[in-house]
């Protein structure tokens, strides 16, 4: 901790007046310190970067600012030198001109640019005679002022990704300008990862817009994973690590390597959890020339018993591989070789993938993994309905028996398979999903964030289930942004950037910090 503070360069020319200042902000989630006594100040007219790994507390901080979370008692927040009571009320946001653009932008694609632009007004003001012609004119003038060229009457679905981001940012900025009422309020725009899905040259267009906004006197908080972007656009930046401020620095005085170091930290890895590297088995599966979604070209030889991690920063496409390889999302091209068969990925369906020996455990447990309003018995048996009993005469007693033995074997608690799936905790839901699929002894296991929202105990159990399956010869592809998890279970980790693998970390070189560094270098 202390070591990093020395890396904190003094702000170049003490900032005149902080627009936003927060001190001693903490937030606990069931005993986990998401934020631990965080203090931060944003100077008037600056773009302030906010960096940190997943789980470092960035999003919790943003959600406290937007009033979504109430912080623990003891924290204080000042905007424009006036103390704002916590939790932040929506009126306070409007009065002080705080406005947010989240990663998913909050646009409705089927509505027009103009309707999307006016959505905040329509939400709070009862207008009974909207003059659409005048509003369209005002929109055109607004766009022209920031040198973006959008037709107010075009549906948002026809805009390119960068145009959508521009629209969302201009909308947020326009809104804060029109609503701030507090004396001397200059406004603060919070951009929460607006860039990960944009190609590099589009990011420049977005940055021109951000600079124009700052020139108009408004400050910006820029949340990003991308260190190059932070170096380019921000004047100062703060790094969060494990819920604490690891350091604040003037960007001009820092280089990429030092920033990565600050983000990743000097972690003592839990290397003890790592099994010794095993010799690679015979080739069991291969993916060749996979294209689709963000993925431009991916090939990999996979051996039996191997656990391969897929990772990268958000938007790099690492999390798309497993859905493409399962036929859950249609690929453009590529083949999957499994059990001596070559399968065209462009035409693969999940049903055929399962028949070939693949399984997929999606990260969206409640939406795509299981039906929460049905029982654990019904959910875990879905994968084996025809096998446990005959298709035209389900032996319900056998299904109940099977569920009971799975609950035992995978330690799903409470030990009552008649419970609704949704009544289980996150960790037990995940164990139930693992039970559902691992009982089929698949050849290729495709896992997406297998321990997201899972408590520590269940996490270890998930790891050992994966290790056991690998021991029995299965090949595991695991997409995750949890570097510690990858460090603990993988024989190889493939790091993605912009749709291609840019680095392979294998064997004893694998560690949480090595993976994290590779990811941040890639940006």
């Amino acid at each position: 901790m202390e070591a990093e503070i020395t890396a904190t360069a003094a702000p170049a020319g003490a900032p005149a007046r902080p627009v936003l200042r927060l001190s001693n902000l903490s937030k606990n989630f069931g005993g986990v310190h998401a934020l631990d006594r965080v203090s931060l100040s944003v100077a008037s007219g600056e773009v302030h970067g906010l960096l940190g790994q997943n789980g470092s507390g960035k999003s919790t901080l943003i959600k406290i600012l937007s009033g979504f979370h109430a912080p623990d008692p003891g924290g204080q927040l000042w905007i424009d030198d006036r103390e704002v009571s916590l939790p932040v009320a929506p009126e306070a946001l409007r009065e002080h001109g705080l406005s947010f653009v989240h990663q998913h932008l909050g646009l409705v694609p089927s509505l027009t640019v103009l309707e999307n632009l006016l959505v905040y007004d329509l939400a709070v003001a009862d207008r009974w005679a909207i003059n659409w012609r005048a509003e369209a004119q005002r929109a055109r003038e607004l766009f022209a002022r920031y040198d973006i060229w959008l037709d107010p009457l075009a549906p948002v679905s026809r805009l390119s990704p960068v145009e959508r981001a521009q629209l969302a940012i201009v909308r947020a900025f326009d809104w804060l300008q029109r609503t701030r009422r507090a004396a001397g309020a200059s406004g603060l725009l919070i951009l929460d990862e607006p860039t990960p899905f944009l190609p590099a040259h589009d990011v420049d267009a977005l940055f021109r817009l951000v600079r124009d906004i700052v020139r108009a006197g408004t400050s910006v908080i820029f949340v990003s994973h991308d260190i190059d972007e932070v170096l380019e656009i921000t004047s100062r930046a703060t790094v969060l690590r494990d819920g604490r401020v690891a350091g604040t620095f003037a960007t001009a005085a820092m280089d990429k390597r030092a920033i990565i170091h600050m983000i990743v930290g000097e972690h003592v890895d839990l290397e003890t959890m790592r099994p010794p590297s095993k010799p690679r088995g015979a080739r069991a599966a291969a993916i060749r020339n996979l294209q689709g979604g963000t993925i431009r070209d991916f090939s990999a030889e996979l051996s039996g018993g191997e656990v391969v991690g897929l990772t990268g920063l958000i938007g790099s496409g690492y999390d798309e591989i497993i859905y493409l390889a399962f036929g859950a999302v249609p690929a453009v091209a590529g083949t999957l070789e499994l059990g001596g068969r070559a399968i065209e990925l462009a035409r693969l369906t999940p049903n055929e993938a399962i028949a070939a020996g693949c399984i997929l455990i999606p990260s969206d447990r409640q939406g795509a993994g299981a039906v929460t309003t049905l029982s654990v018995t019904e959910n875990v048996n879905l994968a084996v309905l025809g096998d446990v009993s005959r298709a035209w005469a389900l032996a319900n007693s056998k299904l109940v028996e099977n569920a009971a033995s799975l609950v035992e074997r995978f330690d799903i608690r409470p030990r009552d398979p008649a419970l609704l799936f949704g009544a289980l905790s996150g960790g037990n839901q995940q164990k139930a999903l693992i039970a559902k699929w691992f009982q089929t002894s698949p050849r290729l296991m495709l896992l997406d964030e297998p321990t997201q929202g899972v408590d520590v105990g269940a996490r270890a159990q998930v790891f050992s289930a994966i290790a056991k399956a690998a021991e029995e010869g299965a090949t595991v592809l695991c997409a995750s942004s949890d570097y510690e998890q990858l460090g603990a279970i993988c024989d190889r980790v493939l790091v993605f950037s912009r749709g291609v693998v840019i680095e392979e970390i294998a064997g004893d070189r694998i560690s949480k910090s090595a993976i994290a560094e590779a990811c941040y270098r890639s940006a």
């Binding site: 789980g55 049903n351 879905l382 025809g386 298709a391 389900l394 009544a423």
Partner: protein, 333 residues
């Protein structure tokens, strides 16, 4: 990070749960028994007669079959608002072929069922192929085929259908109840078996509750949804055949009024026997529950508008009740 705790859930003690669960399952049956007792006390001479009950059981077979037909696509998450028009179309096809053109009754029945299957296939085509909401597709297709029915039958009731059909549906009685009731009973048992004891039934349930979960579990979601719509088409055709059997004629429009009672029964049925799930026994019981109330009230001398009040009210109350059951399940998650 969503930290969910199993401790948030109310842990009902097992014995109390068993009693309340039993009550919930059979509440409708108890209420049904209660209204029979009430009407029986008020009008013992006309209500509490076997002929009254056997009439009720036999005459409602058509609505029971329609409600059972709805249970199938509702389980897999789709509506079929065309099912009543399907009934009138099948009836008209049957009567035209048999009474007008002298086609043997067996072939006429097959043709009527085939017409129902075709309508279901067309519904499925638009729902699956173009990803249109089934509510809209079946509403439109239903109205469209009603137009075809009117055109085919020249907007008139076609009478003179083979006596054999009438005999087989309404004249022949077993334990004093017309055979039509037993056809509905057999269909109910068949659907119950498929939903409870086959892999297909379990897959339908998953398709209805979580389409993405089903798809990622390797279920051919489109095929199941399409198949269910074809099944409800065939069952609608079956209802048409039985309807012609009870009246010996095909009326092009009166069958349409069965749509609402059938929906009311399907939804009310989802609150009983197996609460929270569309189920055939619940649907069947609900039909008779509703008609008992209506018959009783009309024996008491209440005007015919009570029918609309009863069916309309029952549909809304049934949906509200199942929402409450759902809501309680969702609060658990």
């Amino acid at each position: 990070m969503s930290v969910k705790s199993a401790l948030d859930k109310p842990a009902a003690s097992p014995p109390a749960l068993a009693v309340s669960e039993w009550l919930e399952r059979f509440a409708l049956v108890l209420v049904w028994a209660a209204i029979i007792v009430v009407f029986g006390v008020l009008r013992p001479e006309s209500f509490l007669t076997w002929s009254n009950f056997s009439t009720i059981l036999g005459s409602q077979a058509v609505i029971v079959i329609l409600a059972l037909g709805l249970v199938v696509p509702l389980t897999s998450g789709d509506y079929d608002l065309s099912i009543a028009s399907n009934l009138t179309l099948a009836g008209t096809v049957l009567a035209l072929l048999n009474a007008r053109w002298g086609v043997p009754i067996a072939w006429s029945i097959l043709a009527a069922l085939a017409a129902g299957a075709l309508v279901g296939f067309v519904n499925g085509f638009f729902v699956i192929y173009f990803r249109i909401n089934s509510l809209i597709v079946t509403l439109g297709v239903g109205t469209f085929i009603h137009g075809i029915t009117l055109w085919l039958g020249n907007q008139q009731t076609i009478s003179g259908v083979s006596e054999g059909l009438v005999t087989a549906v309404i004249v022949t009685r077993l334990f004093g109840v017309p055979l039509g009731f037993y056809y509905a009973l057999v269909l109910c048992a068949a659907i119950w078996y498929v939903l409870s004891y086959t892999a297909l039934g379990r897959r339908m349930l998953f398709v209805g509750r979580g389409r993405e979960v089903a798809r990622l579990s390797g279920i051919r979601v489109d095929r199941i949804r399409w198949g269910c719509l074809v099944a409800s088409g065939v069952i609608g055709g079956m209802a048409g055949v039985i309807y012609v059997g009870t009246t010996a004629a095909a009326d092009p429009s009166s069958g349409l009024t069965f749509l609402l009672p059938a929906f009311a029964a399907a939804f009310l049925g989802a609150t009983t026997v197996n609460p929270g799930r569309f189920n055939p026994w619940g649907a069947m019981i609900s039909v008779y529950f509703l008609v008992t109330g209506i018959t009783g009230l009309s024996i008491l001398g209440v005007s015919t508008f009570v029918q609309d009040l009863f069916y309309g009210g029952a549909l809304v109350i049934a949906v509200t009740l199942s929402q409450i059951v759902r809501g309680r399940e969702e609060r658990l998650t």
